[in-house]
């Protein structure tokens, strides 16, 4: 990938400066050295700010990226995972449970991908079936009953497009979550941590705050899916990734998300603990803000937040 090449060039530049320092000894002044280091840091920042939507898609899908259970490990204590939709099955593509987040009890729900081939298959690549969305709603209703805030972590290529999922009402399960999440009387905080894949992502992403990690994406269709439908050529995915405006900055500009959570330099996979810390800090701030609202206020604001989304039309009258 072109991006790796550029990243290596930057790393080499850093090493060159170190070698220069060693080779020249005291001949290179301290200020010159600082200036060089500053320039390189600036180049790096610009590089990561300006990576293409397709490159960001690759980072969002990076196999080393922290997944929901990694965030649980970093952010929660005494986590109790809860299973099953009480109707059909437990879906391993969505995990959830309660735990303590920085001193307060919360319900946390998120998509779960696998690390190796066996895990990936077991987790169905993070593609949930209806029972996954129904489990999520069951846990959210449980949280509401005991007035616990809900944190959701979103990272899925999409809802599973298989026969069994259709038979058991994939569309109905997603639709019900959208309607019910709009009226759950507790704060709901959403973080898109990797891939925000269409309805399968949105089904646990209706909330009072929507945060996105710097290298995550949120889209109505995957770039590959869009390319094969609109260009009739899946290899045009890079073009589609740009056309669909799926990066956090684009989505923030359109008013669809509330906050971009910065990642450690080079991406969350290089320092999962630091990434989790940043996610947690943003959540803690948002929880404090929302805690001050009455339930009526909370729900009215949640409604209006989505109600305002997409005022992109002209009135010809």
């Amino acid at each position: 990938m072109d991006m790796d090449h550029q990243k290596r060039a930057l790393d080499n530049l850093e090493q060159d400066v170190e070698q220069l320092r060693k080779a020249t000894g005291d001949a290179l002044s301290r200020t010159d050295l600082e200036r060089l280091r500053g320039d390189i840091a600036q180049l790096k920042r610009e590089f990561y700010d300006n990576i293409s939507p397709w490159q960001r898609t690759q980072l969002a899908r990076h196999p080393g990226r922290p997944y929901t259970l990694d965030y649980v490990q970093h952010l929660l204590t005494s986590f109790h995972e809860l299973s099953g939709d009480r109707s059909f099955a437990d879906d391993p593509a969505i995990v959830g449970g309660f735990g303590w987040f920085r001193g307060r009890p919360v319900m946390l729900i998120g998509h779960q991908k696998g690390r190796d081939t066996k895990q990936r298959l077991a987790r169905n690549f993070g593609q949930a079936k209806p029972e996954g969305y129904r489990k999520a709603l069951r846990l959210m209703s449980l949280a509401a009953k005991f007035r616990r805030p809900i944190l959701t972590l979103v990272d899925t290529p999409g809802a599973y497009p298989g026969m069994d999922a259709e038979e058991r009402g994939q569309a109905e399960a997603i639709a019900r979550n959208l309607r019910e999440m709009m009226r759950l009387p507790v704060p709901i905080l959403v973080t898109i941590t990797g891939e925000g894949g269409s309805g399968g992502a949105l089904a646990i992403a209706v909330g009072d705050r929507v945060h996105m990690l710097e290298n995550s994406i949120y889209s109505v269709i995957s770039p590959e899916g869009c390319a094969s439908i609109m260009w009739r050529d899946a290899t045009k995915a890079e073009l589609a990734a740009g056309a669909l405006r799926i990066t956090p900055h684009d989505l923030e500009n359109m008013g669809l998300i509330d906050r971009i959570v910065p990642e450690p330099e080079g991406g969350a996979h290089l320092d999962p603990a630091a990434a989790a810390q940043a996610v947690g800090d943003a959540l803690e701030r948002a929880l404090a803000e929302l805690g001050a609202l009455s339930v009526a206020d909370l729900l009215e604001r949640r409604y209006q937040k989505f109600r305002r989304m997409g005022q992109f039309f002209a009135d010809l009258a």
């Binding site: 298989g162 026969m163 999922a165 309805g199 669909l244 799926i246 109600r307 997409g310």
Partner: protein, 283 residues
């Protein structure tokens, strides 16, 4: 109903041309179900239901409202809303051009008509999607119009009927389209809380983001016979499982059997079915 069962083989109908011959442009249609040649005028006078086998062809939004609303009269709302192409989206052609062509072809500004009218004597808010307009897809305009229609139903304390016919969220408006699912579903939560009935009518096809939001959230979900209804489209599923889907998969009758529809209602009975349901809820 008489108009539905009327004998179409009367002497007024011209003789169908041989199948192998080039069709007389615009006068004949071949029914995909019974493979018989039908005179288009017969199809039109029969609300686009095959007079030979009762296969349901797509019905345009205006005809749909004519079918459902008394005296074929209604007041349309927000007909002037039109997409501003927020992403400046271009694939093989600019989205702006696709919009322009759809507007010219159909004489409407987006893929839904939201209307206020009377159904069997009762004031209702009735929305009908138009598949001919970019596959009946939902972007910001459809999402906004449906949401306004729901809010109007709440303000007027009227029942709501939405007839869906859609390939799903509109790709050319990206994540904005996706957010319409949440927006409309939120408005439906308020309609529900207001104790007002919502009847969702699913017609061929209803897939993707429309199914995964308002089409599946009716107090009653009813569908026309044979309608394709699903989240993922059949082609996507076939690519996933690498095999062909069985006949009837994702059809209305299949969904009825699996518990996702209240009833499958043929077009000629649709209006009466809705009227008697509303009577039960509101009398």
């Amino acid at each position: 109903m008489a108009w539905f069962k009327r004998d179409k083989d009367s002497i007024q109908s011209p003789v169908p041309p041989e199948e192998r011959r080039v069709r007389t442009e615009g006068m004949w249609d071949k029914c995909p179900a019974c493979r018989k040649i039908i005179w288009r005028k017969d199809l039109e006078s029969n609300w686009q239901v095959c007079p030979k086998c009762e296969h349901h062809f797509k019905l345009g939004s205006a005809k749909r409202l004519e079918l459902l609303l008394d005296d074929a009269r209604w007041t349309e709302h927000d007909s002037e809303l039109t997409s501003s192409d927020p992403l400046h989206f271009t694939d093989t052609r600019p989205y702006k051009q696709r919009l322009r062509e759809a507007r010219q072809k159909l004489g409407m500004n987006d893929a839904i008509v939201t209307a206020e009218g009377v159904l069997s004597g009762r004031q209702v808010i009735c929305c009908a999607m138009e598949f001919g307009f970019i596959g009946g897809s939902m972007g910001a305009v459809v999402g906004e119009k449906v949401t306004r229609a729901i809010e109007l139903a709440i303000a007027r304390r009227c029942p709501l009927i939405i007839v869906s016919c859609s390939g799903g969220a509109r790709m050319m408006e990206g994540t904005i389209s996706l957010m319409q699912l949440a927006k409309v579903s939120g408005a439906l939560a308020r309609l529900d809380a207001a104790g007002l009935p919502y009847i969702s009518v699913l017609t061929d096809p209803t897939t993707g983001g429309v199914t995964a939001s308002y089409a599946m959230l009716g107090d009653l979900n009813i569908a026309e016979p044979g309608a394709l209804i699903g989240f993922a489209g059949p082609r996507v599923i076939e690519q996933t499982i690498r095999q062909k889907l069985p006949d009837g998969f994702q059809r209305a009758e299949f969904l009825l059997q699996h518990g996702f529809l209240d009833a499958v209602v043929p077009r000629p009975q649709l209006k009466n079915y809705i009227a008697s349901s509303l009577e039960f809820f509101l009398a």
